[in-house]
Amino acid sequence: MTAATLTIHPVWLRATHWLNALAVVIMTMSGWRIYNASPLFDFKFAKEITLGGWLGGAIQWHFAAMWLLAANGLVYLLCNVGTGRIVRKFFPLSPRAIIADLLAAFRGQLSHADLRQYNAVQRAAYLFAIVDAVLLVLSGLVLWKSVQFPLLRELLGGYEGARLVHFFAMAAMVAFVMVHLAMTAMVPRTLLAMIRGR
């Protein structure tokens, strides 16, 4: 077999995956510090898991890493659509298939023989992460420039609405990452594949 047939993840995918991971960690940790300055709910994030030290520092991190998140995300989406990978890897996808694979996973019957094939739960989860990241960027854009993006602002329920959307989209992303890490821990070969491509 040639190297090409062994490749599970092309190099552009691995690069954008890890850059995205870095961006998400910086955005989340600095975002928690920004949240702490004026909590939406009756809790704060522990200082030890936040980034930036004080509000001004956290904002600097947040508004620097946003460029990495957005630019890298754009490259990922363009490559994904341009190469047709998004269609090949994520579709077809049906609720029935997701439920079937979810049940199989709980019974420990999901096959991981070919890591190039995403099962239906993976497909749904990764597509969810993509959509959630887009929502984070759009709601973040409203929080950053609410006057300059009136249509987006009104779609997200105004400035205060966008704050809530941004918070819950963050919570959903954190939940995704936790499940994602747990799954990777259960099938460590997937981590190797994401690092060396095969």
């Binding site: 920004i34 930036g52 600097q60 508004f63 620097a64």
Partner: protein, 258 residues
């Protein structure tokens, strides 16, 4: 009028820059550095334990300057901030400053003079009565704080662009700077200064601007975050030399637009 060192009333560009540089050297600045890097997460993230404090902060500052440019480019001088019915006014409207309510400055109305300097034709100092005699208008807009919270208020006063026209300001200049009775200072870009909703505010909710909201005068800009809206203004100057600001010199983004 509050007794103040005269340097705060007579603004010149060099002094402002010197002041900014002095503040950068302050221990609080170092503290910011240490605080921003005290987290264990950073070493985790980068995979190295030695991070050059200075270079990380410089890089972040550079991105912040870049973000100023992007915001200037995104800023549409015709795009108005949303306005609201008076029924939506946040009551009570929050007090906010870098100090507590017990430190609110009390400015004497009779001896008050607004100092206007820099690239302007008419440098006479304005009395409160003179400012009140100018055409006034109201706005009910959302004040957005850098901390994330927002509140709706009603401000009345003189459209700033008409004031700048009246004093013969050079509107091709880059910055308009402000010095305040509470030692606060900030500066804005000329396009925002000329925005139709940028207002020299003399009233709050139909009443004379109370001390807690900036008596005798504040600058209200619904297109900028709260810390860009100076209260207790004593001096306004038009300049091409970057004047910085109280929070901006400590690391807040200068443009601070919304």
């Amino acid at each position: 009028m509050i007794k103040k060192p005269s340097r705060l009333l007579k603004i010149d560009g060099d002094a402002v820059v010197k002041e900014a540089l002095r503040r950068i050297e302050q221990p609080s600045r170092r503290l910011f550095l240490r605080r921003s890097l005290s987290l264990g997460g950073l070493s985790l993230l980068t995979g190295c334990t030695i991070v050059d404090d200075e270079s990380v902060e410089n890089a972040l500052m550079k991105v912040s300057r870049f973000n100023d440019k992007v915001q200037g480019w995104l800023f549409d001088p015709k795009q108005l901030a949303p306005t609201y019915p008076e029924s939506m006014i946040t009551r009570p409207f929050p007090f906010n400053a870098y100090y507590g309510e017990d430190k609110i400055p009390r400015v004497d109305a009779d001896s008050y003079r607004l100092d206007v300097s820099g690239l302007v034709a008419d440098r006479h100092a304005w009395t409160l009565a003179e400012l009140q005699a100018l055409p006034q208008s109201d706005q009910v807009t959302r004040h957005i704080c850098v901390e994330g919270w927002s509140a709706i208020g009603k401000w009345g006063g003189v459209t700033f662009s008409s004031f700048l026209a009246r004093v013969g300001a050079d509107t091709s200049a880059k910055y308009v700077g402000f010095k305040c009775a509470d030692d606060y200072y900030t500066s804005i870009d000329m396009p925002t200064a000329l925005h139709p909703q940028t207002q020299l505010t003399l009233t709050y909710d139909g009443q004379t601007l109370p001390p807690r909201y900036g008596f005798p005068m504040k600058l209200r800009m619904p297109t900028k975050l709260g810390y860009k809206n100076p209260k207790y203004i004593q001096a306004i100057f038009v300049t091409n030399t970057y004047p910085g600001g109280y929070w901006e010199d400590q690391g807040y983004n200068w443009f601070g637009g919304s």
